[in-house]
Each structure stands twice: as structure tokens, then as C-alpha cells.
Amino acid sequence: MAAASLSGLKPIVRQHSEVGVILIAVLLVIFFVATSGGRWNNSYNISTILQITATLGLMTLGVALVIGTGEIDISVGSTFGIGALIYLYFAIRIDPVFAAMLAVAAGALIGAFNGYLITRTGTPSLIITLGTLMIFRGLAIALTSGFAFSVPYKERDGLTYFILGGENIFRAGSFSGVNTGFLWLIAGLVVLTIALKYTRFGNHLLAVGGSADSAHSRGIRVDRVKIKAFILCGALAGLGGVLEAGKLGSADGSMGRLMELQAIAACVLGGCVLAGGRISLLGALIGVFVLSSIQSYLVVMAVKPQWFMVLLGVIVVAAALGDRKLRHWAVRK
């Protein structure tokens, strides 16, 4: 009886690639609540997790789009850092709104640069974006010369700073609220989900990832679709950098370092197929939440730093294996 009812779930798992990561997230949350003695499940910590989810999540949405086309962008961590630096540099000198727009535009430009090089030269995206990862990280370090770009705490009290990740909203009693960056993430998710499911661009993007040759034969301009995906990816990484800088009020040359790996890990956990053609934006975001939650749990439980990376890696591998097994089970007759 139980086996039969479980079998009934197979079509749902098959159709929705994010089911695995949702299951993992639910199990982890139950475990964290049960074992942390309230250290993990308190409003301050949940608020922190959601803030991290917001900025990493925006970057992840962009990476998922690129993965959807069958390419990869590992330069997003550096783009994120450049976005943060541009925002902070111009926010205090000119205007925060102008600075944010400039940072997002710079991210889009980096994305366009990646996309153009990849499509024009036919060089694998891994190689090109590895190069730009280093170029823009080096540029970030060179620009800051060892110091941070910052906006002093006392000057970050205007409405613009508030909207751009500088404060929490929905505070109530002991609830710490949610960083405004999270609202940007929700907006990004809604817009991109609609674009992916109901617009020609979304249709083309997944078609290109499924089979570029086939898409080309149907009249889809493959290169143009890929460049658009890279531009969106860069712009979202730039926006993520703006929101992180808005929260911290400071950024140095290391801002965003290694976040690209987390974004890719979140996409894979969330059911995005690296070969392209199938992605789940919601799944990728839950993947981000899972990674942020695991990191947070290890910190609040004071895991020794020498074990932190090992355990995080083991848990991510275990989660990915569990998800893979679940999908195999779902396709088995």
C-alpha cells in the first residue's frame, strides 16, 4: 500500500526537478531545528540566512540561465565583486541609484564580453570565463590597492540605501525582519520564471541548451540567445554585488570570491542539468538556501574551522547523491 502510494509520487519527481532539493531542504531544516537547541532556528539567524540567500541567489539565477543554454559562467564571483566596488565608489560620490545602475550595467557588460568571445571564437565558456574570473578579480584587487571601498555606517540611512539591501523590512517584535535584498530576489525569480515559461526568449533559451544544432535548424539565432543569457547573468551578479555592498557598506578586492562555485553547486543541487536544456530557477534558489543553511548550522554549532570545509563538502556531495538517487528512482518502472 505504502509502496503503491510512493510510486504515485514518481510522476511528480519526474516532472519537477526541484523536488529532490525541496526534500533535502525539509530534512535538513528538521535536523537543524532538532539538534541546534535554538541556535539555528532563531529569527536573527534566519534573517541572516535569507540575506545570504538573496545575494547568492540573484547570482545563481543568472548562472542557471547560462547553464540552460549548455554553457557555464564561472566569472560571476568577480563580476559580483566589481559590481559591489562600482556601487560603493559612486554611491558616496554621485548618487546611490546612479551607482547601482552603473554597477548592474558593468555586470551586463562583462556578461556581454563573455558571451561575445564565446560565441565568436567558439572557445569553451569554461575557459573564457575562467580568464575573465581572473581578469576582474585582479582588477578588483588592483582598484582597491589593499583597502576597502566603503560608505560609512552613519551615512547609510537614506531610502535608497534601505531599498538596496541596507536594512531589514517586516520587523515585528522579536522577529528581525527580512533584508530588502530578499525582495529583489523574489522579484527576479518571478520575472525570470515568467520569461522562461511564457516568452519566446525562454523557449529559445531551453531549446538552445537542449540541442544547439536543432535550435539553429529551426531558425533560432543561437549565438544571440547565448549572449543574452550571459548579459542577464552578468547583470544579476552585478545586482547581487550592489545588494551585498548595500548590506555591508564596504567591499574589498576579495568580495564575491568563491561564490561562483557555490552558485554552480546550488544550480546542480536544484536540478539544473549542466549539459543544458533543463533548469529549475526555484530549485536553484532552494539549493542556495540549503548551502546557506548548512554553512550557518556549522557556524552556530561552532564546528572547528579545520573541519568546516570538509563537512560542508561531504554534506553537499551526500545531498547531490541523494537527489540523483531520487531521480533514478522516479524514472524506474
Binding site: Y44, T48, G146, S250, K304, P305, W307, M309, G322, K325
Partner: protein
């Protein structure tokens, strides 16, 4: 699926066990040190050993040490926020970046959590800085300045050559504390006519050696190398030695200086490879913040000035004493493990 589940369960159980957090244990206070020094830095041993000694003396206190091996200000603030979320009775934290740390620390202080800055203070004037109880630590600028002044004394005495070119080799271009060490050294060397350069070498040994070697080839007048981490001093000495630049301490060739009371620094001095290093009183920087947090919680005491724990010059005259001290803290095996000469 079964294996994956078992693996996940084992990992999470191990996590809980490794956390060493006895939720059921009845401790009156819990103090958290949110550090920028990860387990890939030998100096973490000073802090964790001093926390263990503190717990022995004050059995009603639990201390926790939180850090990362992939340091960035962004990551540090995240760790700090998560540490605050656990509502500790006190926090010790280095103020690596005033603007990034001010928001979370002010919120923690407003929530009644006392904060002590250690290792790196808020660099602003007292009336503008984050309202922490006190700062316990060394002075990064004085570290470079005093080491530079010591080198000039030795040069004047004819023990080492006079400086013609100095390179300050740093593994983290974004670390303001390391920049201050270089600035101190630069200040000490002003007036000597020697060219001063700051060089980012990174923390990866092969890349660091390549970078330094290229620099030395392009700048043959350089005869003082100042590494701002103890663990990078053997790399600098090795590069100079491979290039035939006579890097041991004598009155010819290159002279290498470094920092910290780490085994690698002390043994480098004892072997005649390094001129000097410094101690900024790392052990005290772990212990004293905890003690002030404890006294603040139990007695309401607040120190009225910063508490400087260094720099103290370590040289050939006192290196044996320092070796004995460090061995007593780290143990012989750990001391020998960390001596990479």
C-alpha cells in the same frame, strides 16, 4: 539512496559531535571569538590554546572559536552575524573593516552583548569608533616600524648590510593590518635612501616563490625582504638562496625579516636564516579579551584604555626563550610540525 542517506546522517552526526557543544552542559557564560585567523595560520594555536587555558581557570565559562580558512571581509561579517544569532554572553572580534563591522556590532551591543576588539582595533578616533569595551592586541604599524628600526640598528653595528632596497611581501593585498605592517617598515626605512616596494605574493607557495623570484631578478638592489606572515619567510629565504643571494644573517647579501612568535619564525632565527620577528602577544590576545568579558559580566568592569600586547622583538638573543615558551603552549609535536625549515 541507502548509502547516500547513511553518509548524510553520519556527516551530520559527526558535525554535532565535532561541534563540541554540550547543549545540556550547565555553563553560566558563553563567549565567542569570531576570528580572521583560520586553521591554515599557525597563530590560531595561540588563540585556541589560550581559550582552553581560560576555560580551565573559569569553569563556568564556555568559549567558542569561529573562523574560516577562506578569509574575506564578506565571509567574516557573515560569521559574525551568525555568531550574534546564537546570543552569546560576549564577543571578541578583530575590527578588520570599520564600515563593514559597525552595523552588526552596534546591533549586538544594543542587544546587550559586550564586545571586545582583539588583534585589530577600530582605527577611528575614540569618539567615533564602535563602542566596544576595549581593544586588546598589538599595533600593526609599530610591528613594521620596530622591526625596521631593529634592522637599522643591526646594520649600524655592522651585523648586516645597510639597506639598498626593501620589499614587503604580503599574502593578502586586501588586509589593512598587513598594509600597516608594510607602512611601518617603510617609515623606518625613510631617510636611508633605500627603495621600498610592496609586493603581493599570494598564499600559494609555488606562485609566491615565482612572484618573488621575478621581483628579485627585476630589482637587484633589493637586499631586505620583509614577509608579513611567518609561514612565508622560508619561501623568501629559499628564493634568495636559490638565486645565490646569501640570505642568511651576516653582513653580506640579502637579509630576511618576518613576524610572529610562530615556530617557523623562531626556528628561522635560531638557524640564522632570519634576522628577527616580533611577538604581538597572541596568547594574551586570546586570553585577555575573555577575561575582560568575564569581569564585565560578573563585576561590571570596563577598561579605560586600549590594552597593547606588543610588539616585542624576537631575535637571536632571546629566540631560545621564545622556543621554550611556544613549545610549552603548542607541545613538541605541533611545534615541530609547524617548523617548515
Amino acid at each position: 539512496m541507502k548509502h547516500a542517506t547513511q553518509l548524510a546522517a553520519a556527516s551530520l552526526l559527526a558535525t554535532t559531535a565535532l561541534a563540541g557543544v554540550a547543549v545540556a552542559q550547565e555553563k553560566q557564560f558563553r563567549f565567542v571569538m569570531v576570528s580572521h585567523i583560520g586553521s591554515n595560520d599557525a597563530n590560531m594555536g595561540w588563540l585556541t590554546e589560550s581559550l582552553a587555558a581560560f576555560e580551565e581557570k573559569y569553569p563556568d565559562v564556555t568559549t567558542e572559536y569561529i573562523s574560516t580558512n577562506n578569509y574575506s571581509v564578506q565571509e567574516h561579517v557573515r560569521l559574525l552575524e551568525q555568531a550574534i544569532a546564537t546570543r552569546p554572553d560576549g564577543i571578541a572580534v578583530p575590527i578588520v573593516d570599520n564600515d563593514a563591522f559597525e552595523g552588526p556590532l552596534r546591533r549586538a551591543i544594543e542587544a546587550g552583548i559586550p564586545v571586545v576588539a582583539f588583534n585589530i582595533p577600530d582605527s577611528r578616533p575614540a569618539d567615533e569608533r564602535i563602542p566596544y569595551l576595549t581593544y586588546v592586541g598589538g599595533d600593526e604599524y609599530l610591528t613594521g616600524l620596530h622591526l625596521g628600526q631593529y634592522a637599522l640598528e643591526q646594520a649600524a653595528a655592522g651585523n648586516i648590510p645597510a639597506p639598498t632596497g626593501i620589499v614587503c611581501a604580503s599574502h593578502d593585498a586586501a588586509h589593512q593590518g598587513l598594509k600597516a605592517r608594510c607602512a611601518g617598515m617603510q617609515a623606518a626605512m625613510e631617510g636611508t635612501g633605500a627603495k621600498f616596494e610592496e609586493l603581493f605574493i599570494g598564499a600559494e607557495p609555488a606562485a609566491a616563490r615565482n612572484t618573488l623570484q621575478s621581483f628579485m631578478q627585476a630589482n637587484p638592489e633589493t637586499n631586505y625582504i620583509f614577509t608579513v606572515a611567518g609561514w612565508s619567510s622560508p619561501w623568501a629565504w629559499g628564493v634568495a638562496n636559490d638565486m645565490g643571494l646569501s640570505p642568511d644573517v651576516d653582513n653580506e647579501g640579502v637579509t630576511v625579516m618576518t613576524v610572529d612568535e610562530a615556530p617557523v619564525s623562531i626556528e628561522g632565527i635560531r638557524a640564522g636564516h632570519l634576522l628577527a620577528a616580533n611577538s604581538q602577544g597572541f596568547w594574551l590576545q586570546g586570553y585577555a579579551p575573555m577575561e575582560w568579558l568575564y569581569w564585565n559580566k560578573t563585576l561590571g568592569y570596563e577598561p579605560k584604555s586600549d590594552i597593547l600586547t606588543g610588539p616585542v622583538i624576537i631575535n637571536a638573543d632571546n629566540a631560545d626563550k621564545w622556543a621554550a615558551l611556544v613549545r610549552s603552549v603548542f607541545g613538541d609535536q605541533e611545534y615541530d610540525n609547524q617548523n617548515t625549515w
